[in-house]
Symmetry: C2
Subunit: 572 residues, 2 copies
């Protein structure tokens, strides 16, 4: 094996592949240099003047190391890993550090095994992190639980590169026993732990880092990014669908601290990847915001490789894996070619590898196991006329709260004449029949219901509607199709299955994006405000870690008090 | 364990140790910052305002991460690892990457196990590399052989952090089967391989790197260092006893390529460490030559930790090991304190840990097992009067060569009236009785002999003298004392044992340095030129990889032709 690298480097044998006549970013010197890039046995063997069995003329273009998404929940694209790869590889991405937090909260570790095997059908290199928070909180019913002891066992498997984002900041600071056991396991096995510490600073931040956490992707301003990098955290510059922090946070990068910065997408929908791109998009945004383009490339390649200990990744130099993205320039980052271990896997925006048969084991299908669903289950009985309601805030995952007057009739609220809708979260993993009910203001739907099984982080069924019959029908439709998204109203039912764990579609990206768009239109037709993305808005209303009032299958949750609260408002 | 870090970071418990009122180098930002450094359980837990069980006032001083010697043959100090630690830790060194190439060539893997256990008696952290060239060449008899297959087995042991400097550049380029097996083993186990490629450039260098080699410490000019860093090698800036490259090569360092540079000493004698220092000395030299002091610190700490994958080393930040050197300033680098995992291990130049009982297993003692030694064995029978002789060149490890007329009498050369001395290398590992004989010009000794068992890289007995009787006596004296250095002449015998493998003394550093100095004086008394260090000069005359004419126990060796050559010069 090594012999062939040596022979090819010396020119004693023709290289397998040569990228000729182009330039490349040397991440070790920060320079754009010239030279043929010779590749043999999947590795770069030399840079100079070479001939190859296959040659690619990249005159006028710039090769950079394959881009690395340093933190992504693939599930958020809502595509199978096979389709995700077909979408991101033509954008120059060759490796992702993936935290299968969503599918594992539904299917347990079987979900992670599925992600690994499905990704292995593609040239995309996926390093899986073991989700550290399953369930995300004790205030919801998830499809699986991973204890500290199980974490210790699982981390020993090659399957997991490290421990996924440790969202339980209060658990770290409060030295929660399970949290300690998980962190101790990662420490003793020498595995990296990703962080998630929005707003943490000062001694709290020191404590969080001292606990063994190495990264953070939640900075919302350059000052926060700067403090975190100064204290030695690797800081991910994130450009997702909802959270877009690159333009602001790249201002924290200096020549001296550059090596602590990476890029990631975290949660990014297929539609955005298709329309705007993946890490290439993040680079465009960074350069547009004034970041040195070579610095941006270094952050997205060498830095990510060093942070995660990806030996042989992140550089165009002898001995490195031939993971290479060829861009037209370092301004627009239009990707002409993507190479993975020396094979051309994408050209001019199109993947060169077949979709093939998707890997679809039983474990990730038919995951919607709700109890009986009837319109009567949605009856909301108030003690009085005053209720705590959730207020949707456009353009934010944070919700407001208010106390509103709501009339009742026959043991159920009467919504007609109010600005309110009924919200329900139905447990769908264990058939417990749990149903949490609440009221939402600020959405604008009437004469129907919308529902989805993508409901962070436990991914129960969440339904929003103005009448019990349509709500029940929408929820049942999700049960029927094995999870997904549904719109029911005015005698019409539309739905789009997310067969894989109720989270991801088996469709090709293009078709899926088009059908998701149709479904969104159906929701708008029911009167949902065009200022919000109906299903994305819905999917964050069950997340009990983002302020201020949320709904889980166990009831209405006051995030600030970190406790359940009654829907009945105290009389004042 | 993690709980205590969190508690101490939050100030909920008093830290074990706090360094108060000082400044420190933040290797992540390149800044000199202020703040108390709080340490608990051996780790830095926070930087800010803290109180500790023990407090050190470092007002006016600068703390930096503990210095890392990225490549050292401890044996070259000629002290036991215990004494080496007592010498280097007061200089701010807390970790060394050690290649026990010398002792393993004498004692085999038992030598490496000895180094590890002896070092474990001290707070110095020693990461051992498995020597890759045992023997260094097939043209000499060493005490041990490590094959490719054995390398594969040994590299699986935790004992070895990686594969030691791969000196066999021709073997790599020529795809020697054993070399390939060793490199393949390191590759498949994901272990780092150190390089040694003086002068390699262009395609040869690409091939050497593509073979899986990550570092080089043999650059002799900044252009060479720059090319190597550009191609992704980590480049060690070396300041040893004979080889001193820091002042020249640090000119290759730029803001952009800084992260590829480290510091090392390679071969540095106890006398120089005592008089001038260790990595602290290298930093002084670098800063004296114009290198940014903070860059120099980053190279000697964070960069070395990243290159060798030393998690938790190389920075003063939460979560990092509390390996800290406190210097008076970043110009003179006078070390006030050294901390290892939070314990003060040195203060004002003195170690704070006891010498204790040295670990001295049988395997590394009594290693001088020569065959019978008699004056007659030194008889050098020439076919004619013309001989190929080795010419000592002052201030260089390279030797010249010349053809000289040498009279003979009774089947032996007559040296009286010439500038020549007789040189002999006597096999001393297996009692084969091998003796290689040669002639040396340019040393100036008369009426005696000097000898040592430190003779790179196989460490046979090397003897230089002007008469067979004194040469035999000197060699026998080395056998008697179990290896070391000897001076015999004019009726007097002086010697200094190197009991450990014939390479290292059991004496305390101070006493050893003084006695070595006395012995050197005894050699000068015999007429050896004061322009050379007699024993160091001798120790490199048996190294068949440095041009141009050398002597091994198997005979005179022409390094350019890489073959043995006759001492009888062809008539022209």
């Amino acid at each position: 094996m090594i012999e062939q690298y040596i022979d090819a480097a010396l020119g004693n044998r023709t290289a397998d592949v040569v990228l000729k006549n182009g330039k490349f970013v040397n991440v070790f010197t920060g320079e754009v240099q010239s030279g043929d890039i010779a590749i043999t046995g999947g590795k770069i063997v030399g840079i100079g003047t070479y001939e190859g069995e296959r040659e690619y003329d990249i005159r006028g273009k710039v090769a950079v190391p394959g881009l690395i998404d340093a933190h992504v929940h693939i599930e958020s694209a809502q595509l199978a890993p096979e389709e995700f790869a077909r979408l991101v590889m033509p954008r120059g991405t060759t490796t992702v550090i993936a935290d299968p937090h969503e599918i594992v909260n539904v299917c347990g570790v079987a979900g992670a095994r599925y992600m690994a095997r499905a990704a292995a059908n593609t040239p995309l290199e996926v390093k899986l992190m073991l989700p550290s928070c399953v369930p995300a909180t004790p205030f919801e019913t998830s499809g699986a639980t991973i204890s500290g002891a199980e974490t210790e066992q699982l981390l020993r498997e090659d399957l997991f590169w490290g421990l996924g984002e440790f969202m339980n900041l209060p658990g770290v600071i409060g030295r929660d026993a399970e949290a300690m056991q998980k962190l101790e396991a990662a420490r003793s096995l020498g595995k990296i732990v990703d962080g998630h510490a929005p707003g943490a600073e000062g001694e709290t931040l020191d404590a969080y880092i001292a606990a063994g956490i190495s990264t953070d992707h939640e900075c919302t301003c350059p000052e926060e990014a700067e403090e975190k990098a100064t204290k030695g955290l690797y800081v991910h510059l994130r450009e997702g669908t909802a959270a877009r922090n690159v333009a602001a946070n790249c201002r924290a990068v200096t020549a001296a601290n550059l090596r602590r910065f990476l890029f990631c997408t975290d949660d990014r929908h297929a539609a955005d990847i298709r329309a705007q791109g993946h890490i290439d998009n993040a680079l465009r945004v960074a350069v547009g915001a004034g970041m040195n383009p070579v610095w941006a490339v270094i952050a997205a390649t060498l830095n990510a490789a060093e942070c995660y200990g990806l030996r042989g990744k992140g550089a165009i130099a002898p001995g490195y894996d031939a993971d290479i993205a060829v861009f037209d320039d370092l301004q627009n980052f239009h990707c002409s070619y993507t190479f993975k271990r020396g094979e051309a896997v994408a050209m001019d925006g199109m993947p060169l590898f077949a979709a093939g048969d998707q890997y679809l084991p039983d474990e990730v299908r038919g995951t919607v196991r709700a109890g009986e669903i009837s319109p009567d289950g949605f009856r909301l009985r108030l003690k009085g006329e005053r209720a705590n309601v959730i207020c949707l805030e456009h353009g934010s995952l944070i919700t407001g709260r208010a106390v509103r007057t709501v009339p009742s009739e026959d043991g159920d609220v009467v919504l007609r004449g109010t600005e309110l809708l009924k919200l329900a979260v139905i447990e769908r993993h264990r058939g417990t029949g749990n149903i949490g009910l609440g009221l939402l203001e600020g959405c604008g739907l009437w004469g129907g219901a919308i529902a989805t099984t993508v409901a962070h982080d436990s991914h129960n069924i969440i339904v929003l509607g103005d009448n019990n019959a349509d709500m029940a029908a929408a929820a049942r439709e999700l049960v029927r199709i094995g999870g997904g998204m549904a719109v029911v109203g005015r005698g019409r039912t539309c739905s789009l299955p997310l067969e894989i764990g109720g989270l991801m579609s088996v469709l090709p990206a293009e078709e899926f994006v088009a059908r998701a768009e149709e479904l969104r239109e159906a929701a708008y037709d029911l009167g949902v405000s065009r200022e919000i993305d109906p299903f994305m808005a819905l999917s964050f209303l069950a997340l009990p870690v983002i302020p201020s009032l949320k709904l889980t299958d166990q009831g209405l949750f006051d995030v600030e008090k970190f406790a359940f609260c009654s829907i009945d408002a105290e009389e004042r």
